[in-house]
Point group: C2
Chain length 220, copies 2
């Protein structure tokens, strides 16, 4: 379990991060320091520190003398982030694979089975994320993993909105399941080249899918 930090700025940052990733705070939303300070029973100093921590995460955007907002992405920016992931997640997967065990494979399999039958949108994207993160779990944390976590975080809102949009239409999700199964198979066979290729394709197709729905994104 995650221990709550004794430092107020960290506590506030953790809580805010969870709110943003959980969808309680939408991209573009204004964040006022005093409001937050009252909410947490703290002064504005730790709130400002917390905001800067979230800037590091890419989740908050600050402008001098103007304030802070939950970061938002245009469709082009979101696509850019997917293009980056397309190039570097296969690298992380390759480095992770040697350390994965049969036990991990079983967990991955179980996650896929759950995903194939889940109805709720939030649940689906959570399982999807846990699946991919588990495939990377053979890697010690480092810059590569940090960057990828950031990219997942900053695009999470748009994944959720997209999923809600296409829910029930059956579009795209079938392919996702197929790709996941292929990916797990390549990992099990310990074929890093194949795994890299499938993962890159998976991310690429997701990006193209997102680009079919500009209405998900901010207009500016």
């Amino acid at each position: 379990m995650t221990q709550e930090s004794a430092v107020a700025s960290h506590r506030i940052a953790d809580r805010l991060r969870a709110q943003i990733l959980g969808g309680e705070l939408a991209p573009g939303e204004r964040i006022r320091q005093e409001e937050l300070a009252d909410e947490f029973g703290a002064s504005r100093i730790p709130v400002r520190e917390a905001l800067r921590i979230l800037v590091t995460d890419g989740l908050v955007t600050m402008v001098s003398n103007q304030g802070a907002w939950v970061s938002s992405l245009t469709m082009e920016e979101c696509a850019e982030q997917y293009s980056i992931r397309e190039r570097i997640e296969p690298l992380l997967l390759r480095q992770s694979m040697p350390a994965l065990t049969a036990d991990t494979f079983a967990q991955l399999d179980e996650l896929l089975t759950q995903m194939e039958s889940v109805a709720e949108v939030g649940e689906f994207i959570a399982l999807d994320r846990r699946f991919h993160e588990l495939t990377y779990s053979g890697c010690p944390t480092g810059t590569l993993a940090d960057i990828i976590t950031q990219l997942w975080n900053t695009t999470q809102h748009y994944r959720r909105v997209y999923s809600e949009l296409v829910r029930g239409t059956g579009s795209g999700l079938d392919m996702t399941h197929l790709e996941h199964r292929l990916l797990l198979d390549a990992i099990r066979r310990n074929d890093p080249d194949d795994a890299e290729r499938i993962l890159a394709g998976h991310i690429r197709r997701t990006r193209l899918e997102l680009e079919k729905h500009p209405e998900v994104f901010a207009t500016t």
Copy 2:
């Protein structure tokens, strides 16, 4: 020219960043808030903000209740950053190429000529950086460019130390010049595939070269 920010925290961050990138502050060096505050005639509040800004840049590492240090990399971490660059800089170059003009080509050529005859180490790595940045200048700034700037920044110190180490031995630098010429040629010919391949190879060879000199890095 770069306008000095009216906000103290930004001024301090800019100055500190320049000191770190310029080699005045070495990786691992402790940063005391009060010291900096005195140095800038400010209180510790803007100093703390500045430190958090540099954490975002990856140039400073902070630990709760313990303090801040100039970030340092082990050889493995530095190699990891080069591996990431190897995958994503070719992407940035590809996106940049269509916007480059004959004028840019001429500037790139001029930079290479200067590099081939420069004697001073600091001058060399500065020209090298300007050359590559100019090849990327066709791209609007975005997440990809930001990440790459960060990776260049966090590894800059080790490039400098390495360059000083091999100065005069003639090892490796010849290859660097050849690769740069090949790269510029591919860019001129507007051959993105070739340019991507050469650039990836260039970064990869630099990484391998660095890995031949573990003494450049922190031992922990």
